[in-house]
């Protein structure tokens, strides 16, 4: 059967009639709802305050996102260049999974972090250097 034949021979029966009792009920409900004062939405005041052009504000926000994104990317590149790459910080789900495994002895806990004592500064005050010379 061709589509055209189907459409031309397609019979469109009438839909059910709307129940007559609905008229009074719906109109009464609408009238009652209209009589209840609608509170002013909170966002009206800032809409009136700002320039009523959402597209312009969206463009400004997009420009800021691009600016901040480029600054962030540039900052990351300067940090990584010429420096030893550090291990990536684990995210929250990974930390949670690791703690679960530590608790149930599924894996060995990580070795304690070795904190090297700070190296003594080679720059001593002049008074101390003078004493060393005298002792020597």
């Amino acid at each position: 059967m061709k589509t055209d034949d189907f459409e031309t021979s397609f019979r469109k029966p009438p839909f059910r009639s709307i129940p007559p009792e609905w008229r009074g009920e719906i109109l009464q409900a609408a009238q009652t709802a209209a009589e209840v004062p609608t509170p002013e939405p909170r966002q009206v005041w800032w809409r009136e305050l700002l320039w009523p052009c959402p597209k312009a504000w969206a463009a400004v926000a997009a420009a800021w996102v691009v600016i901040l994104g480029s600054l962030w990317i540039g900052g990351e590149k300067s940090e990584s260049s010429g420096m030893v790459a550090s291990a990536p910080q684990p995210n929250a789900p990974t930390i949670l999974a690791l703690s679960f495994q530590y608790r149930f002895n599924l894996i060995d806990p990580p070795p304690p972090a070795i904190i090297e004592p700070p190296k003594p500064s080679s720059m001593r005050p002049r008074s101390e250097r003078a004493q060393n010379i005298a002792v020597a």
């Binding site: 019979r11 029966p13 059910r16 109109l27 209209a34």
Partner: protein, 169 residues
């Protein structure tokens, strides 16, 4: 607040058409009633919304479509079977002849099997007689999308109703 006479005039002029559209879209009389009431409540609260409407019927159908989509999304989370089977409520008026009654039942079932977005376009094209441009404006879609959805919907209806049409011939 909308004048009572305005609401009554709108109801008398357009409620049947809007109800038919909602019934075909939602496939459930109770949901259709809720959306119809919600529609008139909105109009009663914001009577100015119709001031710039070029076509009252089209404007109301557009509001009804948006509200129906919200209702369908809410219903999807509750029970997906309503949309899938589409026989929740009787859609067409009863016919005195058995053959015609059988046809109407088959057509209602077939309409329930096509997606809601295609069913909306088919309804507006066949039962409301709108052009694709008017349908696109009503449903907030492009004209090409409206034409495509109508084509896909009619293809599915044809395939579904083919045995019935062959039998009638």
């Amino acid at each position: 607040m909308a004048l009572p006479t305005t609401l009554e005039r709108l109801y008398d002029a357009h409620a049947q058409a809007v109800f038919a559209f909602l019934l075909n879209l939602l496939r459930n009389e109770s949901d259709a009633r809720d959306v119809l009431q919600e529609l008139f409540v909105k109009i009663a609260r914001q009577p100015d919304c119709l001031r710039n409407a070029k076509d009252e019927r089209g404007f109301l159908l557009r509001m009804a479509h948006n509200l129906a989509i919200d209702a369908l999304r809410r219903r999807e989370t509750r029970d997906r079977n309503h949309e899938a089977y589409g026989q929740e409520s009787v859609v067409f008026a009863a016919s005195p002849t058995p053959d015609e009654q059988t046809y109407r039942e088959q057509l209602a079932a077939a309409l329930g099997e096509i997606p809601a977005e295609q069913r909306a376009v088919v309804h507006l094209k066949l039962w409301e007689g709108l052009t694709f441009e008017a349908i696109a404006e009503t449903l907030n879609i492009s004209t090409n999308t409206a034409a495509s959805r109508f084509r896909y919907g009619m293809d599915k209806l044809r395939d579904r109703l083919r045995p019935l049409y062959e039998e009638i011939k």
